[in-house]
Symmetry: C2
Subunit: 250 residues, 2 copies
């Protein structure tokens, strides 16, 4: 069933005039008619069935009925901080990480980032990436929409208040380090927040490694193969799901 996110909190019986973007997609693009039902998620991450009760051109009203909300969010709040990657990679990191359950995505200007986002380009990029995250959250039937933001450098990322900080570090993989990620994931408890830092194509500079370690960041390898900058976050999120969802059934 189609799923959309609403911008308020709701309860059963609420009649809601749908925002124009939803009305356009559901009624105009998908040709939903009065009586059709879609899933709606409110700002409290509660799930509703919404029956289409009225449509006019580009406007639509639904009546909501609360339904049991399934557990589909990762048990920990995962933020990924990615050194600005080249070309369209930011878009697909955003789409795939959203499917895999990410909570926040921060793109930061890494010391060795080739890409630069400057001036009003930043706002435009973040707006576009936010739209991609919201679309992917609907498609993957999430209950939360990830927040996408920009940080000028890693120092700004390290000021985020989180419970656990990790950095994906290629040198760890090369040196055969194989257990730090598992140790960290075994120790984290549901409800905690986890930040993981990924370098851009050029990698993480020694200064960035030192600053991260000074901020209680654990360097972790993601297996013995060299992963591209856009693949490493997907490995991390899959590993979190494997350890915290599939190995610890709720």
């Amino acid at each position: 069933m189609q799923r959309y996110f609403l911008d308020d909190s709701h309860q059963t019986g609420d009649r809601v005039a749908l925002p124009e973007t939803i009305a356009h997609h559901w009624v105009t693009v998908l040709r939903a008619e009065v009586g059709a039902t879609a899933e709606f998620v409110d700002t409290q991450a509660h799930l509703f069935y919404g029956e289409l009760t009225q449509t006019t051109t580009e406007a639509a009203t639904v009546t909501l009925t609360a339904v049991p909300t399934p557990k589909v969010e990762l048990p920990v709040h995962v933020t990924i901080a990615c050194g600005l990657p080249k070309q369209e990679k930011a878009e697909w990191i955003t789409q795939k990480a959203t499917e895999l359950g990410v909570d926040r995505i921060i793109f930061f200007g890494g010391d060795w980032s080739v890409a630069k986002w400057q001036g009003n380009k930043v706002d435009k990029k973040i707006k576009r990436l936010t739209k991609i995250a919201h679309g992917a959250a609907e498609q993957s039937h999430r209950l939360r929409r990830p927040v996408v933001s920009y940080a000028q450098n890693l120092a700004a990322v390290l000021q985020e208040p989180v419970d656990v900080r990790l950095m994906a570090y290629e040198e760890s993989a090369k040196q055969g380090e194989q257990s730090a990620l598992n140790q960290q994931l075994q120790a984290i408890t549901p409800g905690q927040s986890l930040l993981t830092i990924f370098g851009p194509e050029g990698g993480i500079s020694p200064a960035e490694v030192a600053a991260s370690q000074a901020a209680q960041t654990t360097l972790v390898g993601l297996g013995p193969r060299i992963l591209r900058t856009e693949t490493a976050p997907l490995y991390l999120l899959s590993a979190v799901s494997m350890v915290m969802e599939l190995q610890q059934p709720r």
Copy 2:
């Protein structure tokens, strides 16, 4: 260091005239000069340093020295069988799955595949995907190059002789099934072969599910979120690495 694959088995001291594609890339594109060194992997998955000893236009010779071969391959041989996906998704499944350690990739015509590969299009596609796999294997410093092939339907895939067969099944995720994948990965032993089947965008048909189950295939969920056809194989490969590499340090 740059890495290339050779098409024979070798030993220390061998002088090898490089294939034209390698010579072109290393000497012409990367401008390597006599005395430069790259890594070479032979058909036995042994690693060598190769020193460039002679170059002419588009031809080059190296002298090989065997070096310790690191363990970078997954401890099990993983084949992914993917229902033919749309557009360029086959290309990026191939690239990303290679980085994540896949051994073989089979694209098959699923009952509900929208995409069709027909006639001489198949050869062209497989040739292109093989090239992508080889490039990704070099970049991710693999020791084996995945084999990419095409199967007309799932029945052909199910005839592949493997030790363990899994099918990623969205309905399992929806019904809250959360432990089958872990159980299967805990039971598999190093050296065994694992086939995992993924549906195309339209999903797996009931007939395909039944045929797979008749061929001793276990249905597994990949966490509670709905993953796109191109994301699910990456989750599986990351999970295999997490369980068999990071949780069981060798």
